[in-house]
């Protein structure tokens, strides 16, 4: 096992380049959000505001397509997943930087958050008892398989994103080594597409897992209007 190089220590914590890059992304996203939402107008939206509203509504619509009536509840988590992973994946295009999602620690952290979110939203939607009982359905004998499935899909989430982004960077590096400067643009375009596709896949899978958790209870109906208490 290769350990990550530590850039500096913050107390007892060794800060790696991945964390610094993530902080940079946090700063960019937070600052950018603050800047573009400073002067939102109700009656006269500009071009940027229109694009921003369109993006937010598109994410909410995608969530509503899977979980009707839960768009506002899941928008912060799912939207942030898509935005952060897409931006993190694209970071690899910047010379001298590596995508944080090319690090298994980051993807594992995201997968863990998805894992926890599934149970959090599931328990909120159905209650603790009904939610836990769905692991015993249709037969208690299937409990190990349920648990195995939870772990395996979480692991798959982390490894899929990590593997794809790491292999993408490695493939690009190999192509550049072999072909020199003849193919940088196709490789960059492939990188962009792959980065966006992987972000979409991760976020969509997270949404589907959460939806499965929220719909697991016997009296859970997400077609009813209004969020659950």
């Amino acid at each position: 096992m290769e350990s990550l190089p530590v850039l500096f220590y913050l107390g007892p914590l060794g800060i790696t380049a991945t964390v610094v890059t993530t902080w940079g992304l946090l700063l960019i996203l937070a600052l950018g959000s603050w800047l573009v939402t400073r002067g939102l107008s109700r009656d006269r939206p500009g071009l940027v505001q229109t694009a921003l509203e369109g993006g937010v509504q598109a994410v909410e619509a995608a969530i509503e397509a899977v979980l009707p009536g839960r768009g506002s509840l899941l928008l912060p988590f799912i939207g942030t997943l898509w935005l952060f992973i897409a931006l993190a994946n694209l970071t690899g295009l910047v010379p001298g930087l590596h995508a944080p999602t090319g690090n298994l620690s980051t993807t594992a952290a995201l997968a863990l958050l998805v894992f926890l979110s599934v149970h959090w939203f599931g328990i909120r939607a159905t209650g603790l008892g009904p939610y836990l009982r769905h692991y015993l359905a249709p037969s208690p004998l299937l409990l190990p398989f349920h648990l195995l499935g939870e772990l395996s899909r979480t692991l798959a989430l982390a490894v899929r994103l990590f593997g794809n982004i790491m292999s993408l960077e490695m493939a690009a590096l190999l192509v550049l080594l072999v072909a020199g400067l003849l193919v940088p643009i196709p490789v960059l375009m492939l990188h962009i597409i792959e980065a966006l596709v992987q972000a979409y896949i991760f976020g969509t899978l997270a949404l589907i897992y959460i939806a499965g958790g929220m719909q697991s209870g016997p009296d859970s109906s997400f077609h009813r209007s209004g969020p659950s208490p």
Partner: protein, 249 residues
């Protein structure tokens, strides 16, 4: 590649912080703007619906007023028509009466005019007849005719009523018993004596007679006694005929 647990933990924290930051600076402001806009659109739609409802109410009110106005107009028109009919009847009646009165007045005027015209024609006819008779009698007149008229005069004088004689007698006293006797032709002495004798005998006293001639008499005598005169001449008879014709017509 191995998992660096510090990085793992920091990435968990980083993502949660990012979720909070984006919720605070991105999702919430955008959703609030969208909600405000949606509320504005809803309010505008509600206002439009209210305006539509008000417009429909106004239209219904206008149509009701229009219907009321039409009914009132028909009522007023019927009343006016009735008044016009009554007024027309009154006017026609008044006009009929006026026409009848005018017709009567015209008929009276026409009758008067015709009567006057007839009277004038009769007068003219009498004058014409008098002219014819005058011309005819002028040709027939002569001493012989006058002598016969003197005989008739003496005969009429003998049959003169008593009250007329009294009047003549009174007149003869006031004029100093002077009597003017006018004839168309010279009267022979014999005839004069017959006339004087007849007058004296009838009035009972002797009268002073004076004699005159007037061809206008055509033939006959005119005896003037004060304001009274006795006529028996063709001219006087023709005048009497003409006057009788005028008064009789």
């Amino acid at each position: 590649m191995a998992i660096d647990w510090t990085t793992f933990a920091l990435e968990v924290v980083n993502f949660l912080v990012l979720v909070w930051l984006l919720q605070r600076f991105l999702y919430r402001p955008v959703r609030e703007v969208l909600a405000r806009r949606q509320a504005g659109v809803t309010r505008t739609l509600e206002e439009a619906r209210q305006a539509e409802t008000a417009a429909a109410e106004l239209q219904a009110q206008f149509e009701r007023r229009l219907a009321d106005w039409e009914a009132e107009k028909a009522h007023l028109r019927a009343g006016l028509q009735a008044e016009l009919e009554a007024e027309r009847g009154r006017q026609l009646q008044a006009l009929t009466q006026t026409l009848a009165a005018e017709r009567e007045r015209q008929q009276a005027q026409e009758a008067h005019r015709q009567d006057q015209q007839r009277h004038e024609l009769e007068g003219q006819a009498i004058q014409v007849a008098r002219g014819f008779a005058t011309r005819l009698l002028s040709r027939l007149a002569g001493p012989e005719l006058e002598r016969r008229l003197i005989d008739v005069f003496i005969e009429d004088l003998a049959h003169l009523p008593q009250e007329r004689l009294a009047e003549l007698d009174a007149a003869a006293l006031g004029e100093e018993r002077r009597v003017l006797i006018t004839s168309a032709f010279p009267v022979a002495e014999v005839q004069r004596q017959r006339i004087a004798a007849a007058l004296n005998a009838r009035l009972g006293r002797s009268l002073a007679l004076s004699w005159a001639e007037d061809a206008e008499l055509l033939a006959g005598l005119r005896v003037a006694l004060g304001p009274w005169q006795l006529d028996l001449s063709l001219a006087d008879e023709l005048d009497g005929f003409a006057q009788a014709g005028n008064h009789g017509g």
